[in-house]
């Protein structure tokens, strides 16, 4: 099997896990702090207080809501890693030329996962040779240009809002993808692992030699290894992100957004901040948005577009694939683009 050499020094899945990237070590340390904090601050060592209840319930609820999708993302990324022909994505991208990024956005529904699973899938697509800028476009578009999410949004808020959300997501994903083309991948991308070889050996040397096609039994083993390793890593990031989101919700910072959401000018940024903190699933957030009856359509749309692309838990999961400065820039650019785009889309809605 000839390995793709899309970006930087390639590492095998096994190699990636064995080397314990600095990001993974950081999140392990954060998770240990979380355990220590939970033991010290929660009952029975400390009496149950209101914030502890809010933290506990929010933490468990967010994990239960996200876990099936993280697992689905890991399964899908395993299937891509094992079954998708190596050269297919690179060849397809070359053929599309300048339309590759918008093409990726339009084809995002082919891998319809919401944001918790899309990070795994995007990493798997990069390992299979999808150019990184297109992978970013997919990552941002997948939760929004998504039939399940569109159906849920249409049910809760009407077909117009669903279409506006889809268009908004597609425009921002395309714009960010195109802008990312201008930056050398080595500057913003963490090393991406290539797929594990059929004989399970480590490709940390990036030797790119050819192998005979693996048998189905070997493919099955690869699939399980890939899914297991991906889930073990993603769940760690999810854990820390969810803990942060629950801690902020349990603190005073999580209150007081309701009044500001009603303002014409303050509404969109307020609900974007709410979406960032709540870290809700894209398949469900439309129903939450529908309960903000005082908020303007622009604020609701900002909540729906921004949340699935940037929230607390996602930022931590993005750091698994991207360098920190790029994650920060991504959040800022998406926030500004959402604020700029929402008035136009709202005018169309009216």
């Amino acid at each position: 099997m000839l390995l793709p050499r899309a970006v930087g020094p390639a590492l095998s899945v096994a190699g990636l896990a064995r080397r314990r990237t600095p990001t993974r070590r950081l999140h392990t340390a954060l998770a240990i702090l979380l355990v220590a904090a939970a033991i010290v601050a929660l009952p029975p060592l400390a009496p149950a207080a209101d914030w502890q209840r809010t933290f506990g319930v929010t933490f468990v609820a967010l994990l239960l809501a996200a876990l099936p999708y993280v697992l689905l993302g890991s399964l899908l990324s395993g299937v891509i890693a094992v079954l998708l022909p190596d050269a297919f994505l690179a060849r397809w991208s070359r053929r599309l030329g300048p339309f590759a990024v918008p093409g990726t956005v339009l084809l995002a529904p082919l891998f319809p996962v919401c944001e918790c699973g899309s990070v795994s899938v995007a990493r798997a697509l990069m390992r299979k040779g999808l150019p990184p800028a297109q992978a970013v476009a997919y990552l941002l578009a997948a939760p929004l240009v998504n039939p399940t999410v569109a159906l849920a949004t249409a049910t809760a808020l009407g077909a117009d809002m669903a279409v506006a959300r889809c268009i908004g997501g597609a425009v921002i994903a395309t714009g960010v993808g195109l802008a990312t083309l201008l930056i050398a991948p080595a500057r913003w991308l963490r090393p991406v692992g290539a797929d594990a070889c059929a004989d399970d050996h480590d490709h940390g040397d990036d030797h790119g030699h050819a192998h005979a096609a693996p048998s189905w039994r070997q493919r099955g083993r690869q699939l399980i290894d890939h899914v297991a390793d991906d889930f073990a890593e993603m769940s760690l990031f999810l854990l820390v992100g969810v803990a942060l989101a629950a801690a902020i919700k349990a603190s005073a910072l999580g209150d007081g957004f309701a009044d500001a959401s009603a303002g014409e000018l303050s509404g969109p940024p307020t609900l974007m901040a709410t979406a960032f903190i709540m870290s809700l699933c894209a398949e469900a957030d439309a129903f939450v948005a529908a309960s903000f009856t005082a908020a303007s359509p622009a604020a609701i749309l900002a909540f729906l577009i921004f949340g699935p692309m940037v929230d607390l838990k996602l930022l931590l999961m993005y750091r698994l694939a991207f360098r920190s400065w790029y994650v920060a820039a991504l959040a800022l650019v998406i926030a500004l683009a959402t604020l700029a785009l929402v008035p136009l889309l709202t005018r169309w809605l009216a």
Partner: protein, 242 residues
């Protein structure tokens, strides 16, 4: 064995929630099959990790395993058996008066419970009443929630009349993380107010909406007031099964 532990810990976390029949306290009904499928996949991954002598993925180190154990720790120690988050900023989810845009009707409710008629009263959730339809004025309803007293009724030139008696319920659309305290106003019709924070079953009729600040809030004129124990499911659910 150590290789299997992360998956076993996550499977145990979801398994405990399902075995204690607590999933519906945290997530909507539509998540039931997703959680069962997740446990099955995680259990298979754990089993395979145990059976296989070697694999590409190395065993997790102990600090990482400790991190994977956090959900169970929080579930068993903190969240399990605790009541829902306390009413913080109780929102009067209703029609804002003087808003610069047209309020949207809420269409995504109710999905969790099918309304039933008890002694001539339609059993409804606080959420359904909060976004009530004016055609329903005079309807006999039964609703359950937490009583909150706002003290004696006062009138403020800017804020308008402040109602004294409220019924609050946490309303969930998808998972308990999005729980919001939603409030309706009670007209006790001269009855003695119950203790603050008590769970009540209220039977009465939908009355003219009360004016609260810039909002019109659903008001129920009470016919019968019964103190009850906190229900097993403390939340009111709005989201349909999507």
């Amino acid at each position: 064995m150590k290789r299997a532990l992360p998956f076993a810990l996550w499977a145990a976390f979801v398994g405990i929630v399902l075995l204690r029949d607590e999933a519906r306290l945290y997530v909507a009904d539509s998540f039931d099959w997703k959680l069962i499928a997740s446990v099955a996949v995680l259990a298979v991954l754990a089993l395979i990790a145990v059976l296989r002598a070697r694999g590409a993925a190395p065993a997790a180190r102990w600090p990482e395993l400790l991190a994977h154990a956090t959900p169970i720790l929080v579930l068993v120690v903190a969240a399990g058996g605790l009541p829902p988050p306390p009413p913080m900023a109780a929102s009067f989810g209703s029609t804002p008066r003087g808003a610069t845009h047209t309020p949207r009707p809420f269409t995504g409710m109710p999905g969790k419970r099918v309304p039933v008629i008890v002694d001539g009263h339609r059993r409804v959730g606080v959420a359904e009443l909060a976004w009530f339809d004016r055609d329903k004025l005079g309807d006999a309803v039964e609703v359950t929630g937490i009583y909150r007293s706002r003290g004696p009724a006062v009138t403020d030139s800017e804020l308008g009349a402040m109602p004294a008696h409220l019924l609050v319920r946490h309303v969930v659309t998808c998972c308990a993380a999005d729980a919001q305290a939603v409030t309706i106003v009670l007209d006790l019709a001269g009855r003695t107010p119950p203790p603050d924070g008590a769970w009540l079953r209220v039977r009465g009729r939908i009355a003219t909406p009360a004016a609260v600040e810039s909002w019109e809030v659903c008001q129920v004129r009470v016919d019968e007031l019964t103190a009850i124990d906190a229900p097993v499911d403390p939340y009111d659910w709005m989201a349909p099964s999507y």
